[in-house]
């Protein structure tokens, strides 16, 4: 359904957050534009680290790549999550594919003014490949994955879709 090159950062994030969200997203249903949470995230993006230069890798788009080849990723949430990590790893993998030897990733949380440094580790490429494979199998499923527990859906732009009957 989607090729390896088409898997981007958002796919990886949704894979960790909620497979159902990923399934719907891949089918072209994208209610994010109307979500206040997403608008907030965009605003955080626009107002922090304004000297950053986004790097476009086609399907993936990372926030910044500095002179020492560290990948920078800005997050609007206040709490680090496994999805953030996986996303950064994915970007490093994608950069390595095009011949950029990244040092690692730096996750930035402007809301709490925390940063998390992740130096490159040898098993990252393998992890990135597994994630991509997982994305592709999730998307290829004919039936939508079930909803997670309602408490986990808070702030999700697909909430109205999944939970209204």
């Amino acid at each position: 359904m989607i090729s390896e090159q088409d898997v981007g950062g958002v796919h990886i994030k949704y894979l960790y957050h909620c497979p159902r969200q990923l399934w719907l997203f891949a089918r072209g249903f994208r209610p994010e534009a109307t979500s206040a949470t997403v608008q907030l995230g965009e605003a955080v993006h626009d107002t922090s680290y304004r000297r950053a230069h986004p790097v476009d890798l086609g399907s993936a788009r990372l926030d910044d790549l500095d002179g020492n080849l560290w990948v920078h990723e800005t997050k609007s949430s206040s709490r680090p999550s496994p999805a953030d990590e996986a996303q950064a790893i994915h970007y490093c993998y994608r950069l390595r594919l095009v011949g950029v030897d990244t040092q690692g990733a730096i996750l930035r949380y402007p809301k709490t003014r925390r940063t998390q440094r992740m130096p490159y580790e040898p098993d990252w490429d393998e992890r990135a490949r597994t994630d991509i494979a997982n994305v592709r199998t999730t998307v290829a499923q004919p039936l939508s994955p079930p909803r997670p527990a309602r408490t986990r859906c808070r702030g999700c732009s697909y909430f109205d879709y999944c939970w209204s009957q």
């Binding site: 089918r27 072209g28 994208r30 206040a36 039936l143 209204s164």
Partner: protein, 326 residues
């Protein structure tokens, strides 16, 4: 609908200009108004409006539709933004659902029943009990969508007769007439129906569905948004008939709110402003949603309904059309 942005109603003729990233509304009489583009969800033009290409490109960037209401207040068309939300996969699923009579007919039947349920709920439960039972029985073995609409028409006729008994003489419908409406009551209902239809189009454009592929109304006929016709059906009584009854019983509507000729009627300028304000406030009314467990505005119900149809198409859920539950 689920955002901070809102609908803007243009009730006087004006020119829309672009001023950087905002809209500048220039009125002949009265002050100019600046509206930040991020605050706009859609525009409803009740009077003639001038726009130029720079405005249109700005509206397009932000996926904002402009709905146009005609001289008599009927819906005449929209300037729709590029169709970026529509997804191929969903549309294919929608077509499969709409073209399969086994699956589409139950949906069409449910829409007709839900509409009748809502009409009865708004107008009179006891007096419409018999026609409603008849409708329920007849829809059971209706062979196609056309006969369903015929059955609905019969029910509607008795509903309008009951409605007339609750209205003052000068507002009575004496049968529904459109294009142009023949009397004040019909003018009111046409006007509000047009607005509800326009808002439904906006709601549908936020989902990946195609607005032309419908279950009850014939698909893509005469360039109409047939799906919006289907979906507006359940909501029209909630706004048109209900507001007419309410505003009549509160004596808010006066003869000078209408321009009545021998054979046609329309809202006058003051009447249009009054009605638009009433509809706008009605759209903002909230009700507690049972599944979402939060207050939901009436116009958000249109969007939630569109999401339900999306779910029926994408995931094969059974679609239960909107019935007033409160």
């Amino acid at each position: 609908m689920p955002t901070a942005a809102r609908t803007y109603w243009l009730t006087t003729s004006c020119r829309i200009r672009r001023k950087d990233q905002s809209l500048l509304i220039e009125r002949d009489h009265g002050e100019h108004v600046r509206i930040p583009i991020t605050d706009v969800r859609d525009l409803i033009a009740c009077k003639p409006v001038d726009v130029n290409t720079s405005v249109i490109s700005l509206l397009n960037q932000h996926h904002i539709n402009v709905h146009l209401l005609g001289y008599y207040g009927d819906y005449t068309g929209s300037l729709t933004a590029a169709d970026t939300a529509t997804s191929g996969e969903t549309v294919i699923a929608q077509v499969a659902l709409a073209t399969d009579p086994e699956r589409a007919m139950p949906i069409a039947r449910d829409i007709v029943r839900a509409t009748a349920f809502n009409v009865r709920r708004i107008i009179d439960r006891t007096l419409l009990k018999a026609p409603y039972t008849v409708l329920k029985n007849n829809t059971e073995d209706a062979p196609d969508a056309a006969s369903l609409m015929g059955i609905e028409g019969n029910f509607r006729r008795s509903a309008w007769e009951v409605l007339d008994t609750k209205l003052p003489d000068w507002l009575q419908l004496h049968g529904r007439s459109r294009r142009p409406p023949k009397n004040a009551g019909n003018a009111f209902i046409s006007y509000v129906n047009g607005i509800v239809y326009a808002r439904t189009v906006t709601a549908l454009r936020l989902t990946p569905l195609h607005t032309g592929i419908a279950f009850l109304h014939s698909t893509m006929e005469r360039q109409r948004h047939s799906l919006a016709l289907d979906m507006a059906e359940m909501f029209k009584p909630m706004f048109s008939e209900r507001l007419l009854l309410r505003m009549a019983s509160r004596n808010q509507l006066k003869p000078h709110h209408f321009d009545v000729d021998s054979n046609q009627a329309m809202l006058s300028d003051t009447g249009r402003k009054l009605v638009v304000a009433a509809v706008r406030d009605e759209f903002a009314t909230t009700v507690n949603h049972r599944e979402l467990k939060r207050p939901v505005a009436y116009d958000e119900l249109l969007y939630l309904e569109a999401l339900k149809v999306t779910r029926a198409c994408l995931e094969g859920d059974t679609y239960k059309p909107f019935r007033i539950w409160w």
